[in-house]
Symmetry: C3
Subunit: 396 residues, 3 copies
């Protein structure tokens, strides 16, 4: 795409409130703000692909706090920070003194004297992750107001218990490019469906983040899951309101075939029932790790009642012309590959593998775009400047 | 402050011996050398706060070796290195081959081919930490003389069993700014007091580092602790000599109230008795981990005999106008917050929270100043150059 | 050395196939390619020693994957990446989601969106390490061809089950400098000998890498080991063919004294028998960790039958003028230092300690040279440019 057009496009959006702000939930942000992020993600990607530097920081730290295992998001964050000139410093809670009863207010301030951005992943316990991220942001805000922190670091959610914004923003940008633009997503049917997994109780943030964002793109969003696998009420409310406001629709069904019928995009993925997540959080708060193990087994037994919730070639045939775009945030439980019976048949997965990898490739740029827009005073001029006075990234 | 005044101030000090040197104990250094570090810390802070780059390294490694958990110091070191252009490479001894009986001479040389600075924290075992740091420095010195290392990396103590120099230097700079200059600290009474903690046997390096440094600032330094919690004899000797030489005083008492009486600054903090630390070191050398656990319990029982050594509002009233500056290197054991009964009442802690966070904020700059003065041939010209030909840190 | 001469020397080699390639085994590469790497290693070393920047990347990631403990190679890789401007991002498999049955194809692509180089150490299991590295490289190649990856990251073996190329290339450069040039290595006798170790079953990649590379330098290579400690057949074949082609010789003996007799260089080092390694791999694949522990004990018992395979002063006297260059990739098992009885007497080790440290000091430059030649389009012009338009590394 023409770089100048991206800059022109950006000028059309009102995104000034992103400056010096945080990113927690996509529904906290306006349409213009989301589109500004997508536009800047495309622009930074073009800089990189044309071997032009996107470095805006001469020095500075990007702190990461991963309260759960992560590969994709960890490397996406590292890539985004590095691309902009920030060095990643990871808080390994096991190697820190946090166990000694330190308050979050204190940790947040102690990490942030030279931090430009803090990326936090905390998705394990319902009612906890988003709360932790907000408290972190409130703490650094207070530190900034008190003069303890001379700059206010931006907090970016790398997944919480409610939303997975960098994933959802990356997926959506992929959909837009796949279908030739965001305007072409209007009226498209997307099925966010539960699928069977034998591995463990997975977060709800993907289905929740999905229905919370795609209902803003004028899409017909269908959420499908077995009874008992409901998502959070508050997110259902968000999705309903979005559908009304932005001219799409939001439907919930307990029938996977119904969801796939004539769908343009299908995202089938396992998650744990909300009630299970609530019980797990309580056991966790009580430090009852035996109880957690027992609960996990109970969950897997419950999951096993729904092995028919799996993506077969037959199921795919129900979709629009039998050719819906299949997607997954990865890693997937592939039947016969990573497990005996799982979320998807190998042949389906393999047919869309390349697309899924490309989907994933947007995440570093989405994170970089968020940081860029939250740190740069005049993003349009800065982008133009990076492009025109191009410093080579690899000076070969 | 006027940046040029800082540079002028620096010109008044004789600090040439810092160049290509190490930093282990504050009492190894002259008054002028310490003041040079404080001045450069202020200067680098100003560069950063005015969004000017302080980068003096185009590439290079800052190695860190943390032989104990750390958050504050870890991020301070990472911040300092990053600010100057060094990338941190952490030696995780668990992931290294050091367990295979490798000598320190070998490890030190193997890490240092491209290391500009080595930060070491080793505070757990009496008689060990400082020795390890010195041996490390001797090893790289030998490697340098033999031509194995083409540059001699600087060793900076990030805490040992004797001193915690970066903490103490940061605290002192905070006191100086709080009271309007180092000259105003003369004659001020500072109480370094033991306080009750239920958590674990904490290092002696903070009280030792405190009395070893503050007695050089012309202050009336009082060390208070229950019987049996004496610090190392050699540090008491240092403090006594300093008091004589620099016109202050050094008193030891077993009475917390006496220490607080009319004090201008109070630093109440738990530490383990020296005798306990010696026994722990022996058990450690014998690999007797059951013995260490047993000893830890014994210590906590002994600590519990001194629960009245805690900072209450009533105690604070005894201080100068009831308004002494309360400080703590953090994290503190706050009664009713991080433990049932601890070092300090919540209301006292909270009233000084902001001050303590600001105290902590000096540490990255102290470390950066140490590296700067140990690596830069002409610090005055270089500072002036960084200020005048300012490269923006965040090129926004 | 004169920098311009190094550049001239480089012009004489045909090394264009290194560009955008990988490095797995030295015997995959032509003589010219190896010499190009040695020349560039010397050139980058000179840049660094003259305080000139060798930074060719403005930003970018050097991924590392260490599937075994490492100090030397880890810091060498970190040094090389940093020197060229890349930030190291380490894949800690314990903190990743790889355990969840993710395919290597997926992991490889997910890590590589912004990776310029991937360094992999995987030396533990016979038949696995090299295979893993190749699969990794094939995966990113496929990702590149599919358009998932916009740049194709270079894979550098940091040791596999077959070869340890960065170690061997560094050792050989050290030998060349020690004897005054590669041409002087022709006809020199080098003994790669097994030696007794009580510690654990060590990889075969060092002896294998040694005989595979030194037979290309026109040297008389003798491999010595007790019966049962044979190396892989395929590597013996490589060494035999090399000896024929490049005018040296390759001999295998079960007599350590014979190997040392009149040798110019001796590299005595423990390794595990191939058959043992094969059994270990099988047990590992079966997840039989008790079996692995048992096998390890069996191996140490077998090793103990060969305690006479140790480097004494008497043995050294057999070498050329009693003054052969003794070398070891480190860390060594030194009798009376790191173990009761080990690979080498303390007096021998100490006499050559400095030389071994210098040997080790080449590894960062070898890695940097590999990356440089695999990433830079016109290495000769770029080196000249870095030298002439010298940006200071430490801007002091």
């Amino acid at each position: 795409m023409d770089f100048n057009k991206l800059v022109e496009q950006l000028k059309g959006y009102d995104y000034k409130n992103l400056y010096q702000n945080d990113f927690f939930l996509t529904w906290d942000k306006t349409q213009d703000e989301l589109h500004a992020i997508w536009t800047v993600a495309d622009a930074i990607r073009q800089l990189r692909e044309e071997n032009k530097s996107a470095k805006i920081f001469d020095s500075g730290l990007g702190i990461s706090i991963f309260r759960d295992n992560s590969t994709r998001t960890r490397f996406s964050y590292a890539s985004a920070c590095n691309l902009l000139g920030l060095e990643v410093a990871d808080l390994d809670e096991q190697k820190s003194q946090i166990a000694h009863g330190e308050t979050l207010m204190e940790t947040a301030n102690m990490l942030s004297f030279m931090a430009d951005v803090i990326g936090i992943r905390d998705d394990k316990f319902i009612g906890e992750g988003h709360k932790y991220q907000k408290e972190f942001a409130d703490s650094v805000q207070k530190g900034y107001e008190e003069g303890v922190l001379k700059q206010r670091p931006t907090v970016v959610s790398l997944q919480c218990d409610i939303d997975h914004p960098t994933q959802m923003m990356a997926d959506s940008l992929h959909f837009a490019h796949y279908f030739g633009g965001f305007e072409n997503l209007k009226g498209k049917k997307i099925a966010m469906s539960w699928a069977y997994s034998p591995s463990y109780g997975k977060p709800l943030s993907v289905p929740q983040g999905g229905v919370g964002l795609w209902t803003r793109l004028g899409m017909d969003v269908v959420l499908a899951h077995p009874e008992g696998y409901e998502i959070m009420d508050e997110v259902n409310e968000v999705a309903k309101k979005n559908a009304e406001q932005y001219g799409g629709s939001y439907t919930i069904t307990n029938n996977m075939e119904e969801a796939f019928k004539d769908a343009d995009i299908v995202i089938p993925k396992s998650w744990a029932p909300y009630a299970f997540m609530e019980r797990r959080t309580k056991l966790y708060q009580q430090g009852d790790f035996d109880g957690i193990d027992k609960l996990e087994k109970e969950l897997l037994a419950e999951n096993a009642n729904h092995k028919d919730w799996t993506v077969t070639e037959d199921l795919m045939k129900l979709t629009k012309d039998g050719k819906a775009l299949y997607g997954h945030p990865l890693p997937a439980d592939i039947t016969g590959v990573s497990c005996k019976e799982g979320e998807v048949d190998e042949s389906v997965f393999n047919r869309y593998r390349k697309e899924m990898y490309q989907e994933a490739s947007y995440k570093p740029y989405i994170i970089a775009a968020m940081i860029f827009l939250m740190k740069v005073k005049n993003p349009e001029a800065k982008l133009q400047d990076l492009y025109n006075n191009a410093q080579k990234r690899l000076n070969d």
